[in-house]
Symmetry: C2
């Protein structure tokens, strides 16, 4: 599957939170890989996931995601992801016929809010919610895989 | 799951092949990782597998294996494993109440035969078949993950 995402910062003073239809805590980490692929381990609510992603090409990348037991995911997070994980609450928002997610980071990156929309093609049109501000799709500091163990990038 | 394996070279002049009860071709590669974990992609017959293994401790290591579509595995082998794969025929042999596998390497490591037995504990007793020769359990040159892109280690 090809994943095409656009990513934006979120206005902290807006009422985006009132639009959330679902909110689930996510803990995720990465098995340390060489550049070219990422291996993500995620616990989302009571479900586990293992996700392999290829290199980013423009705003597309190949993605292979599999459901795994949450217990396996927790053990891999602890033992294989160098004990470093990202913790966030993922809020789902329906806007303009698209599904958006707003990730509210906890812990090390407290204060960071990242909105994402997944598109069917690189040129698909979409309506930008008023609470979405600066686009950071191409800014590698905001890649989840780069946030681990790094300084928090600008939150506005 | 803990994986406890012992690994032996095989006498090329013996009749081990007559004892095989199953033989299947395997193609496998590794997503390049930093030391500490391996991420193996495997196509075995018409099935695909993704296997995460932790670091080897003695002859034990943690292992998480998941069935995936063979099509995904083939695509990952081609696009994410740097085009390098190991190809081998895995023969299953029943001996002394245990299941052994003999891997007959093809391509780059043609001529290499590796027998393996999986044990329930590190000190479990087993009968060594007469065709099994030198033990190489602790020799990292024979780890599948190290055979990729490397010289073939001694085959006797």
């Amino acid at each position: 599957m090809k994943e095409i995402e656009r990513k934006f910062l979120v206005d902290h003073n807006s009422d985006w939170r009132a639009e959330a239809v679902e909110s689930k805590q996510i803990s995720q980490g990465y098995i340390p890989t060489l550049p070219g692929a990422t291996v993500r381990v995620r616990v989302k609510g009571e479900a586990g996931f293992l996700t392999i992603k290829g290199p980013t090409k423009g705003i597309s990348r190949s993605e292979f995601e599999y459901s795994i037991p949450a217990e396996d995911a927790r053990e891999m997070l602890e033992t294989l992801c160098q004990g470093r994980a990202i913790h966030k609450i993922r809020h789902v928002i329906h806007h303009g016929g698209h599904e958006w997610t707003v990730d509210e980071f906890l812990g090390d990156h407290d204060g960071l809010l990242l909105a994402e929309i997944e598109l069917g093609s690189e040129d698909e049109a979409f309506d930008l919610p008023k609470w979405a501000t600066r686009e950071v799709s191409h800014d590698s500091r905001y890649f989840n895989s780069n946030l681990i163990g790094a300084e928090t990038p600008p939150t506005v």
